[in-house]
């Protein structure tokens, strides 16, 4: 019953947060298209080369994922009014900055003017991984169905950046089961780019190669990591660096071509073009089916590789000032198949981002396929102890954009909803975060829920500098006519505690998930990080889980530097891993990890070609990083 769910919606989780850097949210709260590798990579870069606060811009601070929009604006306003920060202690005098925020920010920032670009230099990364048990696709004898390659995964990444605004890099990647060698053109996936970013003059930036665009609030064009509902209830307004060179291994969420930016005073003009091949096929009726998992392991998967060609061309005109960003974007894209069938779509959108006193407003209106999509967001701090955010969205059923990633429960079409987030600082070390999201899907089949409600609450208690507790509760239900017997409700509660003892950091979490018919799943997690010496660090995890049918647990794992993954824990069993990181010197770092998942009472794991005989799945990963 909704009343009961609301009354028991807040269970306090004791989470002792260590002095570790801020971690991303639970995966259930993250956008499913999150490309978090680029976020972690950015954070790691600034950990090694801290960001100079006196020479930074809004988009760079946003990329840190530590400050919300109001805090970023307050910091920039403070520097604009009072001059450069002389010491990091001055952050205490910036409005809306408290001890918790400053502690989270410190690892990534400095105020020392070095004259050196913090990211200048080169990075070489080599990563290897494989599962020790063979999946069915590796042992099957039928060559038409078997995986064409071996079980190893490889990733090579190189990036460089010079002091003169030139940067570039490349990525080569192969998934398990994909073939490597001259017959396949080498690796399965390649990506690269060259960037010229002088920082001044009329030509502000030019990228040739693979790049990402992040425009407005994501209704028209947005590649990569996208904010959605999360425990940080205020960070719902998007404002990112609009053009970014692409350096991830995701094989779909980028453009390939060229883009450049012209600038005159407050006026900016971007022109972009992309021409790339996609995996997919034409559907029988009309339209295309896109395959976005990036796997090319079998004959069947290989036959759809690069079968579609997509071209995109567009431009954007925007006005930027300290308190206002307004822009208009237009684009046309065509997807075509070898048979000659093609579809063309036009996009146009207008967006703005404005700050007024203690409020930030942002909105975007997009038009495509003779339909509109609209989103309006507001963040406001009416009192130093209170922060509010609202997002209203209205996406017509007919609205279509292949590149959209708007704020939504499902996708940027056929959805209306209202989100409200509230953050209260009850006491200096006690923070309460809440959000409520009610939404509906105007067009639906008779078998699907046409509306839903999502409630979230988190109590964050910092007992001391090394001890933090988190209590989280989340209640979701579809079809608000809750008296109907098939209304689907799921409630999740979690309790987490982290604490630091000398060189050991421990994290303990208990999590439960319940449905309306009182079935429940449970998860216990224990993490330990040990600083064994100045050069050697170890991480260990043990998870005991029992999930509901069709509702797995997702646990975020930070397996190796510059990477992330989500363990999908379905059924009943144990997952454990051990990770060692060794810094040979200031430039070279090696890491190795062994992980094991054991399922209780299962004869096989997975189905089809992914099936593993037995009830155990183990994997090893190794990584080498060179900074120079």
């Amino acid at each position: 019953m909704p009343g009961r769910s609301v009354l028991c919606g807040l269970l306090v989780l004791f989470a002792v947060s260590s002095l570790m850097a801020q971690e991303p949210e639970d995966p259930e709260i993250l956008d499913e298209h999150a490309d978090i590798n680029s976020v972690r990579e950015q954070q790691d870069v600034y950990r090694i080369h801290p960001l100079d606060l006196n020479a930074t811009v809004y988009e760079e601070l946003k990329m840190l994922r530590v400050l919300n929009d109001i805090q970023i604006q307050a910091l920039l306003e403070h520097i604009r009014k009072n001059g450069k920060l002389l010491s990091l202690y001055e952050l205490q005098s910036v409005p809306y900055f408290d001890e918790q925020v400053i502690t989270a920010l410190l690892p990534y920032v400095t105020v020392e003017e070095t004259g050196i670009d913090p990211a200048a230099g080169s990075l070489l990364l080599i990563r290897y991984g494989r599962e020790l048990e063979n999946r069915h696709g590796f042992v099957i004898s039928d060559p038409e169905k078997a995986y064409s390659g071996d079980p190893s995964e490889w990733l090579f990444k190189y990036r460089f950046k010079t002091m003169k605004g030139i940067e570039g890099g490349f990525v080569a990647e192969k998934d398990a089961g994909e073939r490597i060698g001259p017959g396949n053109g080498g690796f399965d996936f390649y990506s690269g780019n060259l960037v010229y970013n002088p920082g001044k003059g009329i030509l502000r930036k030019i990228i040739a190669g693979d790049y990402q665009l992040r425009i407005g609030q994501g209704l028209a064009v947005w590649n990569g990591y996208a904010l959605s509902k999360r425990a940080d209830v205020l960070n719902v307004i998007r404002r990112e660096e609009e053009l970014k060179p692409y350096s991830s291994a995701n094989e779909t969420r980028f453009f390939r071509g060229t883009v450049f930016t012209l600038n005159y005073k407050h006026l900016y003009m971007n022109f972009f073009y992309s021409n790339r091949d996609l995996d997919g096929k034409k559907r029988a009726d009309s339209g295309f089916t896109y395959y976005t998992n990036g796997f090319h392991r079998t004959v069947n998967e290989l036959q759809f590789k690069g079968q579609l060609n997509q071209q995109l061309a567009g431009s954007r005109v925007s006005y930027k000032s300290p308190d206002l960003l307004a822009g208009i974007t237009s684009a046309i894209y065509t997807t075509a198949e070898d048979s000659g069938y093609r579809e063309t779509m036009k996009l146009i959108s207008a967006d703005y981002f404005a700050r007024y006193r203690n409020m930030i407003l942002s909105a975007e209106l997009a038009y495509s396929n003779r339909s509109f999509a609209f989103v309006q967001a507001l963040s406001v701090i009416p009192d130093p102890a209170v922060q509010l955010s609202f997002v209203y969205r209205n996406y017509s059923p007919g609205y279509r954009s292949l590149f959209a990633s708007g704020f939504a429960e499902k996708e940027t079409t056929n959805e209306k909803g209202l989100y409200a987030g509230l953050s209260l600082i009850l006491k200096p070390r006690l923070k309460l975060n809440l959000y409520a999201d009610i939404y509906r899907f105007p067009v639906h089949t008779g078998y699907e829920a046409d509306r839903g409600c999502d409630l979230f609450a988190e109590l964050n208690l910092k007992l001391s500098k090394s001890t933090q507790m988190l209590f989280r509760g989340r209640s979701e239900w579809n079809d608000l006519l809750s008296f109907l017997p098939d209304a689907e409700k799921v409630q999740r509660f979690s309790y987490e505690i982290r604490y630091k003892l000398l060189y050991i950091e421990l994290k303990t979490r208990a999590e439960t998930m319940m449905t309306q018919d009182i079935q429940s799943g449970i998860l216990f997690l224990q993490d330990m990080q040990i600083k064994m010496s100045r050069k050697l660090n170890g991480s260990f995890r043990y998870v005991l889980f029992e999930s509901l049918q069709g509702r797995p647990f997702y646990t975020y794992e930070n397996p190796l530097p510059y990477s992330h993954s989500f363990a999908v824990l379905s059924g009943s069993g144990v997952r454990t891993y051990a990770l060692l990181k060794y810094k040979i010197n200031g430039y070279i770092q090696c890491s190795a990890r062994y992980a094991l998942t054991w399922y209780k009472g299962m004869v096989n794991i997975g189905t089809g070609l992914d099936k593993i005989a037995g009830n155990k799945r183990s994997e090893i990963n190794a990584q080498f990083i060179l900074h120079f």
Partner: protein, 266 residues
Amino acid sequence: MLLCLRITYCLILLQISFAYSQALPEDARFTGMSGASVAVPAHTSPTSNPAGLISGKKVFSVNSGNKYGLKALNCHSVSLMVPFKRYTFGLVYQQYGFSLYKYRRGGFSAAYNLTPHFNTGIHVSGHHLLIGGKTNTVLTADAGVQYKIKKGVFGVHVSNPAQTSWDHTPEGTLPARFRAGYCHLFSAVFLLSIEAEKQLSESPGLKTGLEYFISKRLYTRCGFALPGAEASFGTGFVLGHLQADLAFEHHAVLGYSSSLSLAYAW
């Protein structure tokens, strides 16, 4: 056939009005806060917690609202509040309906400031219902308290504890309602109110609302209530002695409600 339809319509309205009459629309200020009013001090709404009427001002107000777009649920009310020493007395008149179905209510409130931190109040209402040519009149009573702490107020309000009935049947019983909540006054320009409500025959509900002074004369309000996932927004404007408030409420299934209030304080 037409008479049959009209009677059926009246019966439907009767069902709604049983809950409606006990939870008649708040004034626009509290509608904009999803009705989270039990702990809000110094208000002028005679249908909310009577203990909160202590404001030290004479107030005359009119309110007009509509629930869920139903024409028959256009509700109008008028009220007067007068302070006297440590008391505040209030009179209210409300009505909604149409020719075959008409509901009227007249009420009297009295609030008393016991101590600087403690207020108490009672409210007595006479309800009159005309349906299909037949009339019924009943009396209900409410009581409430508010207790102030440093930066907040606790409030409790009980309505119709005796469960008065129109026709001495369970179906005709006006529900008893219990509300308890807390309002935190973060500053002179921002308050946050939260309350829990329970009617005997219904599942419990939770309401939260906030009010923010954008400037000296302009308010904005919003709120959220469960069950029903009702979201509300409101705004208010003060010009000298005159205050105007407008609010909208959206129920995820039943649709939109609106409310407009005008008050003159002196």
